[in-house]
Symmetry: C2
Subunit: 188 residues, 2 copies
């Protein structure tokens, strides 16, 4: 019924009521690690969700700040989100620009290519380090909830683990590729 972005927003609102601005912020941090959108996409999508009865808003007046519309998920919204979760997602081809570049890496100088992939690898490692830090924090602070699949904290922890595996795989691959284009033998 809603779009994928709609379900991403519902996933946030199922945890707490948020303004469009707040949703935009979340899309740059937490959820943003696996689904991103700018505010120009979010405001119209919230309107569409409201039209479908999946969310409802109330205006909160603020002193010294502009008024804001705070959106809450409705029972119908919770139902729709739960049903969507259980549908197997369509297998779309992963679009990875760095892999695409690697596909044509044979055309360029090995030393220069090594520099590129080492630099990209470093970025993945930085992100990985950030994730590992959050993971350590979660495992300490959220220790109880992490074992309870019915809590939102468990779900957040699960997505973080996915991010860790993803960044680790990418970092490992970049290192291997940088070594290989420089002519270094591999350690598989």
């Amino acid at each position: 019924m809603a779009t994928t972005l709609g379900y991403a927003i519902l996933g946030l609102l199922a945890r707490e009521a948020l303004s469009g601005y707040d949703v935009t912020q979340r899309m740059k941090e937490s959820v943003g690690f696996f689904w991103g959108a700018g505010h120009s996409q979010i405001y119209p999508e919230l309107a569409r969700l409201e039209e479908g009865g999946l969310v409802a808003h109330s205006v909160v007046e603020q002193r010294e700040r502009p008024d804001k519309k705070v959106f809450e998920i409705t029972p119908a919204g919770i139902d729709a989100l739960g049903e969507w979760v259980m549908q197997p997602p369509p297998r779309r081809p992963t679009k990875d620009e760095l892999t695409l570049k690697a596909y044509s890496v044979w055309l360029v100088d090995g030393g220069e290519a090594a520099r590129l992939f080492r630099e990209e690898g470093r970025r993945y490692e930085e992100q990985l380090a950030r994730y590992e830090q959050i993971r350590g924090w979660m495992e300490e602070e959220w220790a109880d909830d992490i074992g309870r699949p019915e809590t939102p904290r468990f779900a957040s922890y699960a997505t973080l683990r996915r991010g860790i595996l993803y960044e680790r795989g990418n970092a490992e691959w970049c290192r291997w590729l940088a070594d290989a284009v420089e002519g270094k033998p591999e350690g598989v």
Copy 2:
């Protein structure tokens, strides 16, 4: 200068001359594993590349088959592709629908969720098995070229390794998540 899809096509044409139809087929197998497009996107893109002087076509008449336009990459096309390869790609947020579903998995029944993620994990494992098979074949058949970063075969092998790490990470995560939502203790 060209779009990302344009560079994907150039990457193919740098290896061999192809018709639009052939390019479409490649987008479903080899390159399709990390960049996909339908024929309705490919034909206009080839026209744009030709307009920019990066590819050129000649008509090949066939008996018992429709005539076809075979596209070749031009020296300008090779240059453009090589320069693009060396540009660090913009860091776009990974869009992964399955991770997004996991973010709201706390709303649904653990047993049902386990079934979903186990099934998805199986698909990743199947793809992984296919990749591992190709890898074995490449390491035997292409043994010489795989150590030479200036060959297209090396580049194909490199992208395959990326695919293997990707599928392996996903499969591992799905297994972990399925166990976790069922209440099984983890083995990290």
